[in-house]
Symmetry: D2
């Protein structure tokens, strides 16, 4: 167990390589995990492409670096100062490594600190056979949750936090969810599982909209085939002329942001989750916020570990089935095909899961009934 | 439309009579409703039996009085000063008539005022062909909700408020629900619809426990066949040794109250809904409240109209099906059989719905597939 | 009591006239009030000037119309269907007349309905000896509160709602408050009374900044004499580099909005109260909302009657003294001088109170020690 | 710096001894503090007396043990794995050492875990010249807060959490606070600082009631000189017949608990902070909780570190002056006199502060103007 296969970003250009790397040694308050499943995030795609964001955020000097941060695995070694995680634990990972000295951390908002580090961005990631991470961000999985589901809990947690907002007050309410990327699709499922009474889903790719339908959307609108005015009228028609109680902005485009501030009812809530392509950008401050008396919740990451706890309960008790969003499974060695699926437009995939171990892959293919 | 059939409490003794009564004239801010369906509440049973509570609360001097307060019907007349309800509206009724001058009303807690009046207790009720009530407590139903479901929204609202508590923060949490009367059974269904992730249901009558199972209970315990210690161990075994996030006390017995304060986890929530047979009664104040750092929500009635809004959304969108709890349908004239079903022990029924109109009854029997 | 003096907007041009008008007759659910004190709001100034907003919102056809909506007085007549207000009550008025059929009203958010009417805008106002208004918006004052303070409770309520936000969670927190108009100055006082631990006040007029200091600002910044960067550094220096827990935007300028989103700490709260001069306007959506994980509360009006209740308690128990903000007292007949004070720039006044009754005016001047 | 003076519980009997003890060596994630001021808690008195609670909770086998847990001091050494505290930091200590693996810890309720350890109870305490404690519970003080105030922040935090409850929604509300021990007196001051608009204080010792008056009580009732009925009528008379918005039970006696459930208004809040002398004990469950629709917050410890943050802000900005509650200062060597003051009845003291360093003591005496 000295050497392992890993997907490594070797230089400031498109792509990555499968290389032999030494198995990492965990720090005293870190643990070492044998990776059972790992999934590809949009952030990984940015780094894979080496777009301007990654060139600036990571920088060529940091390379070579192993990609990946969405993970499920078994703990095979714990540092001497670990306190709650033990060898043999089946865990997933919160990917935001908070600084315990941040004011926000000291006040319990661990997910939005000043000095946050991120797995797979500031450190080597988990697209590998083994992976080291701080104990502080390890989350014990329920054994009934299969690795390919446990791995996607990180983006599922984004979705849950976006749906639930700061107060988790969603039962019996109406909701708009924009976007058809994996997190939007997960959000549809979480909203359905958590008692949102009417879900209006806005997206543009047929393949993914069909997944949204399977995840529980009641009504759908294709944003490529409708005007803002048509969409607003549709939402008003289906909410007694009031607008929705809650609007989840999960795209970051001007159109989607405008849609959400127009569609939310007076005294309602907007979740601001999508990262705007450009910022600052124009917002209808008076009609969308002030006169509407609405609340906006900026949502970033997941509540540590409140979101994880709720999702574990929902998954372990069969309340939420995220597998329609998991569209592709690959052995780790075929990572490049996985990235291609993620990059392809129009979208024909949502979540791609990779397996370092061939047997685990075969078992997953068999159980999921798809590849 | 001058005279109508009505179930009237005529004297201070067991029973009631079906009599011809004049159709009421609504006050300027009241409305008149043609009753389509009405259901029997435990309060009606108290009055029907004329037990010490009703003798004291209503008093023989108030008789004769028409029974009933759970209702769905069509508005056929509105007083001159009504502002939001119109003739033809299909409504149900909040039964707590709040005083707009109460401090609690002025602060938005309409359901717990100092000078509350109650339909069917302080006024003539709805076990009749027509029924008059204040506009202020009318709730417009969604047309897709059938009358027998619309009628039971009042106790369903108790259940929803008990489940959701003051903050509606239940998604992904674990819950104990005690009791197998109609409101406990509705609570199981609301909890399931609103994303409670694991529901442990405690009751004692086989017939009703089976309804609890159909409403969505994950685990059940028969309180007649278990000791408090066994029940506590069971709950601890199924919650990782922590206890449940939320415990709903819906019985009012010493055993059930003790169960709830023992079973709730630290920093959890107890809903105090059941009315204790005797009060004061002993509570484990230190271990159950102070050291546990838990919250108790005293729940009485329904939030006006927050609870109604959420339930309407859940019902109209197929998120919640309360019909397994509706065990019996009768024409209004057969009200006595309905009361017998409610009084029978061991319980062999949950909610009984009465229909003043024979055609409506026949249609309900046909659609529900039961009588 | 057939005729009364009133300040009337007679035509679509600058100014108003003091005329004899008939004393209004209240509707069955309205009351008639003898006005003891009334104060000038920025909205009155808009109408007085007949700027484009008033020309469009009110329209020349609605004239003549009596101005004014901030009021304290004694109820001298109640309509036949009034339920909680009695002749002799000493009241002030919420000025937002909600529609009880609005969804928001039915859910308890009376202050942001779809069909809101406004006193003095959609109806005759209170710059008169007598004034009629709906019982639904009457608020009983504590008798210990003098009329000139009771009258300004309406803008004080704006300030309180802006400070407290939706959750009233402010104790021991740090706060930025922008602006030096009357509502900003009231907000400083409310924040101080409610346990905000450090108040940083931003304004530009020396006269009003001095009032802010007297109301309890800990630190002040003149926005005319500082750059955005200097202001941000100042706030960071005084909050351990974190930013403030809560930022109250009460100006509506691009600079002030930008300041607030920059100065609020991660996971903090921004109150959006100021109406933007132009909307849409650019907001730093990513850094100010999404990545910050902050909450924005759009604040409009006052919570009915939660805000009123809290302010009554604060005023009646000497916790909050708003009188430094009341800069000028005039007999009603000298209303034009009052408007001149409000319009003057640089500002040399904050709140102007008018008195229909000369004796009341003399008493006020004596007690306040100012004119 | 090898040996130090410390107040040691040497055997299972009344009292303690001032002994020379080795200066402790901090664990890798602990720190060593030079104690500047330390105060005596009721828990210390229990252990000093060696009453049945301490005999059972600590046990003779654990002795000898150093007493004390309320502390302010300077960090003189940090373990190798400390992450946020540095040598030279001026700190106080949360005394509840949470287990990071508790479910409650993982959900952010660090103060009510399953496996909690307590400073001075499960470990050597701070009545000594030096003191070792985990970094996880260190709180950085504002340098402007003198040591005798910094030391009492732990019980002040109890008071703040009791006043603010789970939601910190207290501004402009009315409150009953029972008891005249130090934490009740601190609570009066916190309530006053945080905008509670009317504070009704119940106690029985003249000396301490006078402190309550100085801390900001508006109205006071001596429970030795009044009946429950008289007290209830008094509260109703001063709250418009409604009862108070919030009642803080801080005694634990049957009378005080009954007072609080009777005095809170409908839909109000009761803080359950006092530990009942006997538990279970009778509670008026129906009238006090269910029909009242009130909320009970079980309060134990302090929110880590939300309560600390708010109190630091209040203290550093002069919003809250707790010094009237600090009635006695002694050099550490005179600890026995301090304990005598704490034990004396009728009470003639509230908080007693001890100083290991004579110069620090002299400075404190000079600044406080009392001994």
């Amino acid at each position: 167990m000295d050497s392992m296969k890993a997907v490594v970003k070797t230089g400031p250009r498109l792509g990555a390589e499968l290389l032999d790397k030494p198995v990492p040694k965990p720090e005293p308050d870190w643990v070492l995990v044998k990776v059972r499943a790992t999934s590809i995030c949009g952030t990984d795609v940015h780094i894979y492409k080496w777009d301007p964001w990654s060139a600036q955020r990571i920088g060529a000097k940091a390379l070579p670096q192993i990609l990946g941060h969405e993970v499920a695995g078994e703990v095979v070694e714990v540092g001497a100062h670990c306190k709650r995680i033990k060898v043999g634990d089946y865990i997933s990972a919160e990917t935001h490594i908070y600084d315990p000295g941040d004011l926000t951390s000291m006040l319990g908002s661990f997910h939005v600190g000043m000095n946050m580090k991120i797995l797979g961005v500031d450190f080597d990631g988990c697209f590998a056979e083994y992976f080291a991470l701080p104990e502080s961000i390890c989350w014990p999985n329920d054994p009934s949750i299969p690795p390919w589901v446990a791995a996607i809990q990180e983006p599922l947690g984004n979705a849950a936090y976006a749906v639930l907002g700061e107060d988790a007050d969603v039962a019996g309410k109406t909701m708009v969810i924009t976007g058809d990327g994996p997190i939007s699709l997960f959000a549809v499922g979480v909203a359905r599982a958590c008692g949102v009474a009417r879900i209006i889903h806005l997206g543009k790719y047929d393949f993914n909209m069909e997944i949204g339908r399977r995840m529980g959307a009641d009504l759908q609108l294709n944003t490529n085939q409708t005007t803002p005015k048509e969409r607003l009228e549709f939402v008003m028609d289906h909410t007694g002329g009031n607008g929705v109680d809650i609007a989840l902005e999960m795209v970051g485009s001007q159109n989607s942001i405008d849609d959400c501030f127009a569609m939310v009812r007076k005294a309602g809530r907007v979740t601001a989750f999508g990262i705007a392509a450009e910022s600052p950008l124009p917002i209808d401050y008076n009609n969308g916020i002030v006169f509407k008396g609405c609340q906006i919740h900026g949502i970033n990451g997941r509540k540590i570990f409140d979101t994880w706890y709720r999702n574990r309960n929902l998954l372990a008790n069969g309340r939420l089935d995220p597998t329609p969003v998991i569209t592709n499974l690959f052995p780790l060695a075929e990572f490049a095909t996985g990235f291609d699926k993620m990059i392809e437009r129009p979208r024909k995939s949502a979540k791609v899961v990779l397996f370092p171990d061939k047997e685990e892959y075969d078992a997953a293919v068999k159980q999921m009934g798809k590849t």
